[in-house]
Symmetry: C2
Subunit: 470 residues, 2 copies
């Protein structure tokens, strides 16, 4: 058996990592914000300098292609800069001050200053589909480091070399900016036991995860059953429904069909916000729209999935769907047999089938999607209301759809973290108004985001200082 390039950490090693992260916490948190900002900027500089090499390594492990990987790396760099600004401004402390009132009745009121403090060592478990932006140096890591939490990243086994290369750059930055060396550490582990040991360790104060529903759910359970439970934030992906209302469908059917299929097929459908369900109402133009979907699927090039395992999982999910629903469009061809090229596939069902059949509710990781045809407005509302939580929900409407749209918006709002009016997900832009999260099963805690500035709120807690001298 070949020796692994990055063997799994032993339980003893995990323990050593967590204890050393804990030991440096008191120093790391006390550093001036501008020092931690410099550290994050130094990481960004290293990523910029080494970008071609990093993309080469990541491409060899993920098949995502240089263009997408360069874009993703740029996003990771801009996120590091966003959180460097935050660290420097110290705005994350969210100071709230109240002056003392010595004459207050029935008792005097002391002066109070409330501000946020970091929780402690944060374990980050990144995703297979974003080797840069949701991995070693993504939002989870950058936001935790910005507020003074040491970070321990569990390397993704599917891109362990990319993780290792990124970690080396972070370690350079640690050294150059004279940070405590254990403020950032990488742990390898292809076995779940490594991840579980990290989440379960007594020094772990919080964990952030992006990945599958099964994995997120199991770790959420573990985190809540520890002797001292910790917050566990999982972003687990979702169906991301798209609803096209009758007037929009009638007038823009062709472009909507093409836009939808492009979104489904983007990066082989391996996006957490890939639209997995398209909901329409029977009526004028629906059959032509269906034909357009077929044409769009036939016209699109299949692309490679991340690796063989992901591809095989996708095939297996498709077989489940095929056994129950009608496949109406596919660009599958025999020449794909020995590749990891994922066929883009659209299944069809009726609204009442969706309401009765639980299988339909599950996310498929890959370029599959389901067209749900509802017989009337009531069924459209019923189908939408019956959906589980999602990261995004999209509504296409024209002025003629106004009345129905006004009924749909609150229903959609109750189910998702981001509503798109027109357009298609993905397209997450990290900033202050970003929310990347949503009701279960999209995320374990819908009140928090894993992308965007406010991602730091997962890693801080307020402390009120009463009567304390400055």
């Amino acid at each position: 058996m070949q020796k692994k390039e990055h063997p799994d950490a032993s339980l003893q090693e995990v323990d050593g990592v967590m204890e050393s992260a804990w030991s440096c916490f008191s120093t790391f948190r006390k550093l001036p914000g501008k020092d931690r900002g410099m550290f994050l900027r130094s990481i960004a500089t290293h990523l910029t300098t080494r970008k071609d090499n990093l993309v080469l390594i990541a491409d060899s492990e993920t098949s995502l292609g240089p263009e997408r990987l360069h874009t993703e790396l740029k996003r990771a760099i801009s996120e590091l800069e966003l959180f460097a600004d935050l660290a420097e401004s110290e705005k994350w402390k969210e100071h709230k001050k109240e002056e003392s009132k010595p004459d207050r009745q029935p008792i005097p009121k002391p002066g109070m200053l409330k501000s946020n403090v970091p929780l402690g060592p944060v374990v980050v478990i990144g995703a297979c589909n974003f080797p840069f932006a949701i991995s070693v140096v993504g939002t989870d890591t950058a936001s935790a480091l910005a507020v003074g939490c040491p970070v321990i990243v569990k390397a993704h086994p599917d891109h362990a070399r990319t993780c290792q290369s990124l970690a080396v750059l972070v370690e350079h930055a640690l050294e150059e900016t004279r940070m405590p060396p254990n403020a950032f550490q990488l742990v390898h582990g292809s076995d779940h036991s490594v991840t579980r040991a990290l989440v379960d360790h007594r020094r772990t104060a919080c964990a952030a995860f992006t990945g599958s529903f099964q994995g997120g759910k199991a770790l959420h359970k573990l985190a809540s059953q520890r002797k001292i439970p910790i917050p566990f934030h999982a972003e687990m992906g979702s169906l991301n429904p798209v609803i096209i209302l009758p007037h929009a469908l009638k007038h823009s059917g062709i472009e909507l069909a093409r836009g939808y299929i492009a979104a489904v097929n983007l990066f082989a459908g391996q996006m957490c916000t890939k639209p997995g369900m398209l909901i329409v109402m029977e009526g004028e133009g629906v059959n032509q729209f269906r034909d357009e979907i077929k044409t769009a699927v036939n016209d699109i090039e299949p692309s490679n999935m991340l690796n063989r395992t992901v591809f095989e999982n996708f095939q297996s999910c498709n077989r489940t769907l095929e056994s129950t629903y009608s496949l109406i469009a596919s660009n599958r061809s025999d020449s794909q047999e020995d590749t990891n090229q994922a066929p883009c596939q659209v299944f069809e069902t009726k609204g009442n089938n969706f309401l009765n059949e639980r299988k339909l509710h599950a996310e498929v990781f890959g370029p599959s999607s389901i067209l749900v045809r509802c017989k009337d407005e009531d069924e459209l509302l019923a189908v939408t209301s019956a959906m589980e939580g999602s990261l995004t929900g999209t509504i296409h409407a024209l002025p003629g759809d106004r009345e129905l749209a006004q009924k749909m918006i609150p229903v959609m709002e109750s189910l998702v973290g981001r509503i798109l009016w027109g357009g298609f997900p993905p397209g997450v832009i990290p900033s202050i108004a970003t929310h990347h999260g949503g009701p279960w099963p999209a995320a374990t805690d819908s009140r928090h985001t894993s992308i965007g500035l406010f991602a730091y709120r997962r890693f801080v807690r307020p402390v009120c200082r009463q009567g304390l001298p400055s």
Copy 2:
């Protein structure tokens, strides 16, 4: 067997309550903030008008006495007003806006508006020791209603009549301000199964609890193991350590001893922030200080506990402590035998005993406290570091203690939600800088407060609206 005045709700009744709360959610959340503000003000007015009667009922059920109850009712009224302001201002929505950038590369940036939406029906499980401010109309209820969450209160069986009287007033306010009638509902239940059914119900979006560690922990587990887990916020009380540094002890020993004992004995020690542990360092003045503690205990009047069960639990905890540690002060007398009067008791131990003995770490609900004598600075730091999470931590220091205080503050900060510099807990004043929470076991989620303006953050989640027309 006597028929109960307020029999337990059946599971069917719980189901009906939760379904009706859910049904009114879509209407209640859409009301203008000023309407929900009026509703909260109307409750406040009813409480003010009926204050004497409410205090009479609550006193008959809790033995807290009219003075304390009038003060507590005033606090509940001012909290309702605080959250009426919040509802009217709609500041809880925390709007974050980003303009669109059609020229952005690689893709255009759509306009985004993020704002908070209410989670859904909130179950409130109040405390035995605050029949007004942490009960039917406390912060949990007021903050949830302010942001548009229907509220279902589980009545505390120890003051069920008080709960019922308060609920009747809330129902008057609902009617007068034309709220959906099911936006507030009270459920009786002395059996835990009623509480569990409420927390476990599929329509429950969040639950807030104040009470014992055992109760909070069990419900936390239940909430995290539901098919769809929900956030569960428990405030479970804590040891609330007080540290007196050498110079402060030497110069202000007498008044600190008296102040400490008064805080321990306040309302028979039945406060979540009652100081349960006093930590000092051996040295000049410590023996005199110990004598002052004895004198202070002898001089103080014992007061009645809430009821016989609470009193008996307290006695049982004291027996456990007595079997291990030295009782150095007590105002117990034979005449108390048949009453619920709680003796104020102080136990003593050495720092290294505290470090070795787990029993010491548990909160006692009642006027008991432990004096921990540490042999030197290292032991003082070790004892403090070994403590579990608390709601509050207090440090008494004089300029001569500066160096040691600077070491103690970060240690204390890592353990508590509120640091007091001088003075003694309790003394929570609800406002913007309030934080009433702390690391486990003080609270299930240290990032949230159960008192003060930001209590509403437990009950909202952000939604990002992308490209949505106004």
